[in-house]
């Protein structure tokens, strides 16, 4: 049985945000009488995460994903609720706890800007008291996994965004944390680099048994890296489960992607299923999952079909549908 490494109960975080009406008059008013609005960034969220799990926090901008990560890692104090990570209250910031976690933020860096990344690695070695032999072994493994050996002596300011992110990941993993929090780790990276980072995270999870918790706007990060997804919207947890279950529960249809040999009428196709995309000789149809084979056969029998693919509904679509449904 897997060990629970994170327990969160009724976690709540409110922020007080100053309000100002537009224009010069608004600025003067706010100078003498400032009004505040309470924002419920995270509202009564509960979950548990087991050792070695790879979990994604999903949700629109401002949903409360990053705030939750910051409370789990001890940066922010909750307004209410209980958080326990690896047996510690993160906000106590005990060194023994800090040595077992790491947080990588796609939009923040810990690397020293003017110096090569190796200098930051050496600083982290001292901060975490990593013995020489373990430091060298881990550094070798990580540099090989990310293929960055040739850039380690280049000042960080001269590295590309992707190279910097790779070095950030190395700096964050040198002390072999048991839990790795990642906030938008692939933001701004090109597709090849995103793919490399995802592959790396899976290897880290496998080789070091690291529990990985990430937030991302890229659905491929979630699909390829994580097994479980926690969806948050307007501070509330709205779904917590395996990605496969999410697809099974919410993908009630399949897509038929069809190329015709000659133009067909859209009205005719609408009798078979919901037309998502349509051009003269190409159509994308949404059909009920349980009868998709029958519908595909109907099209092949009645139309001059050049090619027909049956596609699963994309995770993005399921999530959009889920959020839309919740907003109603």
């Amino acid at each position: 049985m897997s060990l629970s490494v994170i327990q969160v109960r009724n976690l709540t975080k409110y922020f007080k945000v100053a309000q100002k009406s537009a224009g010069l008059l608004g600025s003067f008013k706010s100078l003498f009488s400032r009004k505040y609005k309470e924002i419920k960034a995270v509202n009564d969220v509960s979950f548990e995460i087991n050792e070695g799990e790879m979990v994604a926090f999903l949700g629109p901008n401002g949903a409360g994903k990053t705030t939750t990560l910051k409370m789990l890692s001890g940066i922010l104090y909750p307004t209410k609720g209980y958080v326990n990570v690896l047996g510690y209250i993160p906000q106590d910031r005990k060194p023994a706890f800090q040595k077992q976690i790491s947080l990588v933020m796609g939009q923040k860096n810990q690397l020293w800007w003017d110096l090569p990344a190796t200098d930051t690695f050496l600083l982290n070695k001292d901060i975490y008291n990593i013995p020489d032999s373990i430091y060298q072994k881990t550094l070798n493994e990580l540099t090989d996994l990310l293929d960055v050996r040739d850039i380690l002596n280049t000042p960080v300011r001269r590295l590309s965004l992707g190279q910097r992110m790779k070095c950030e990941l190395i700096a964050s993993l040198l002390h072999q944390p048991k839990i790795l929090f990642l906030d938008e780790p692939t933001i701004g990276l090109d597709i090849t680099m995103q793919r490399k980072i995802r592959g790396f995270l899976k290897k880290v999870n496998k080789e070091f048994k690291t529990t990985v918790i990430l937030t991302s706007h890229y659905m491929d990060d979630v699909k390829e890296v994580c097994d479980r997804v926690i969806m948050i919207n307007q501070g509330h947890k709205i779904y917590d489960g395996q990605i496969k279950e999410l697809i099974n529960d919410f993908a009630n249809e399949k897509y038929l992607n069809i190329d015709f040999e000659e133009p067909v009428k859209k009205d005719d196709l609408e009798k078979i299923g919901k037309v998502i995309q349509f051009e003269d000789t190409h159509a994308l149809l949404s059909v009920p999952r349980h009868s998709h084979a029958q519908k595909a056969a109907e099209i092949i029998n009645n139309y001059p079909v050049d090619n027909l693919d049956i596609k699963e509904v994309e995770l993005e679509d399921i999530i959009i549908k889920y959020f839309d449904k919740r907003d109603l």
Binding site: F15, T66, K70, S73, G74, I75, L76, Y77, R93, P95, Q98, K99, I101, S102, L103, M105, G106, Q107, K108, Q110, W112, W113, D114, L115, D119, T120, L122, L123, N124, D126, I127, Y128, P155, D183
Partner: protein
């Protein structure tokens, strides 16, 4: 301790990356003190002294203000304020690492770098006026000076830390940083020796911590009026008081920290 030595080494190395900064500091590093010496020489004119301070005392006093700045002074509240404002303080909350110490050590690295750069000009001035100044500390007085410098540096660092932490409440560090600068200049003796200031300033200086950063060690150095152990005791009391205040303000600040950005 090792981790902070590493920070010093990294910060020192990073300073060496910017040659223009070093050339700039070589030009201006000693300038403020030279200007103050010239001003006071003009005020002295043909008089032998003002309130017991001779030409040699003024040179020695402002020489201390130049060199003493590199030991006692700094501007780390700006580091700390910026880190709190833009969320870089997160690293201190995530790692077994104190960001206040980091800020002071990074500034210390800059001070060592800039001291090396401005030393030739400062030593040249001392050489030119070698017959005017009288440096007459015995070994005991020198030890007292070192202790006073250390306590002054601690007071200064803690005041800077408190000013930097104001960012937890007020978002911008500059109002407090400027207030601190003015108070240091006025009550700390950096503008002029406090004995030459109006009585009101002298009385206020006696109860504020700023006098105990620069002025007290400077007075020991110019060696006027003998050794006053009360000054060292007051310095020590301020260190303890400000240390406790810093701990409390940090704990309260981190509680209301919103970790904006990223």
């Amino acid at each position: 301790m090792r981790k902070y030595l590493r920070v010093f080494s990294l910060a020192f190395q990073a300073n060496l990356q910017y040659r223009a900064n070093l050339i700039g500091w070589f030009v201006v590093g000693s300038l403020p003190s030279i200007i103050m010496v010239v001003v006071w020489f003009n005020i002295l004119g043909n008089r032998g002294n003002i309130n017991g301070l001779t030409k040699g005392d003024f040179i020695l006093y402002y020489f201390f203000m130049t060199i003493g700045w590199y030991i006692v002074g700094g501007t780390y509240c700006w580091w700390l304020g910026a880190w709190i404002k833009n969320g870089d303080v997160n690293k201190s909350l995530l790692k077994p690492f104190n960001i206040i110490i980091e800020a002071s050590i990074r500034e210390q690295a800059w001070k060592v770098t800039s001291l090396i750069v401005s030393l030739p000009a400062t030593l040249l001035i001392l050489y030119i006026f070698r017959n005017t100044i009288h440096f007459s500390l015995n070994s005991f007085q020198f030890l007292v000076l070192l202790i006073s410098l250390l306590l002054g540096a601690l007071i200064f660092t803690l005041l800077e830390a408190i000013a930097g932490m104001s960012t937890f409440w007020f978002t911008e560090v500059w109002p407090f940083a400027h207030i601190l600068d003015i108070f240091n200049a006025l009550f700390g003796g950096r503008l002029a020796p406090i004995v030459l200031m109006p009585l009101l300033i002298q009385n206020l200086a006696a109860i504020l911590p700023f006098k105990y950063t620069f002025y007290v060690p400077a007075s020991i150095m110019i060696n006027k009026g003998g050794f006053n152990p009360t000054d060292l005791i007051i310095q020590a009391i301020f260190v303890v008081f400000l240390f406790i205040a810093t701990k409390l303000i940090w704990a309260a600040g981190v509680r209301r920290y919103e970790a904006i950005g990223g």
